[in-house]
Symmetry: C2
Subunit: 185 residues, 2 copies
Amino acid sequence: MSEKPYHHGNLKMELLEKGLAFVDEHGVEELSMRKLAEVCGVSSAAPYAHFQNKEDFLIQAQRFITEQFTETLQECIAAVKDKKKILLELGKRYVIFFYENPSYYHFLFSHGRVELTEYPPYQLFAEVVEEAFSEMGVKKKARRKKMLALWSMVHGLSGLSAMKGVLDGDDLEKEIEGILNAVEI
Amino acid sequence: MSEKPYHHGNLKMELLEKGLAFVDEHGVEELSMRKLAEVCGVSSAAPYAHFQNKEDFLIQAQRFITEQFTETLQECIAAVKDKKKILLELGKRYVIFFYENPSYYHFLFSHGRVELTEYPPYQLFAEVVEEAFSEMGVKKKARRKKMLALWSMVHGLSGLSAMKGVLDGDDLEKEIEGILNAVEI
DNA sequence: TTTTAAACTTGACAGTGATAAGATTAAGAG
DNA sequence: CTCTTAATCTTATCACTGTCAAGTTTAAAA
């Protein structure tokens, strides 16, 4: 019958994890610091030992997701053998990530909290695209615009796919592939 | 010295307008029904005569913006003479609308409230694109995917442009034009 | 002119973010 | 091993929020 110890031991991490699970299930607007505290079996003020305020918690939770997202992309990049397919594969993975976690898309991009310069997925994406363009013989001057166009499309499709009714979920990969391939870079 | 009448007379409309102005200035998270009531010089419970609850207010406010947005797009369509340029011009107008009102983008798409099937800008966009594709000789089977690709790009760029640091604001039109033209439909 | 229903106010409730003051205890210093 | 200290957590409280019930005012219909 282990009595609950006064000190939690791993509260910060549990707050982040349970918080994200809660957001995934009920959406951001339902999340409150007090509910979160209760879910973790701790008093309502306890979270404030680890986060300055709710905003700070949300920012750190976003970082947490962003890291997962970055890892997902990195794994994808590592798994692609045929380098010619990397743009398509990366784009697909990007879109699917948010299709699978629609609330994360809102959570990340809804509040203008994400700054481009400190958004690792963008850096990663930009690097891969740059390399691919180089290999494809795209002229240097055209690269930035083409890259932004591509990113817009991938990012936009991620957002739209979070809207119900846009994508056909039956054969998602094919669907996304078809859309991304519908324009020529 | 006109005494404030007991009945406001035009409260619902003023709530929507002042509410949107408030959102534009301070962001959605700062908005509360009570502040809104105060801004309109009315008691804290008065808004509930016109809106079921806050969610209902937000939905109606979104409809309100969406109408403005739709009108903007319609004016744009009407103003384009060279029909070959209509895709580009419409895309530009789409992006610029949200560049000019970044908070609106978040407001509209942050909460998954917008449903594709009842989102007039999409219908409008789809019609125009369909017609343009027909004129361009795009095969019927390819149209849906191309249209989604295009819309993703335009919509995505709108979202990204709300992130500071993505677009060069000095010559915005040229910038957007360059990006949208960087891929071939 | 009377009636009625819509538009508004007042006053209340539970839930929220946040802080101050105090209790507990893990971990390092001597 | 003891003492100290600082991190962690609780309790109590504040101002503010969404929302509703009950009552007030008034425009407009009967």
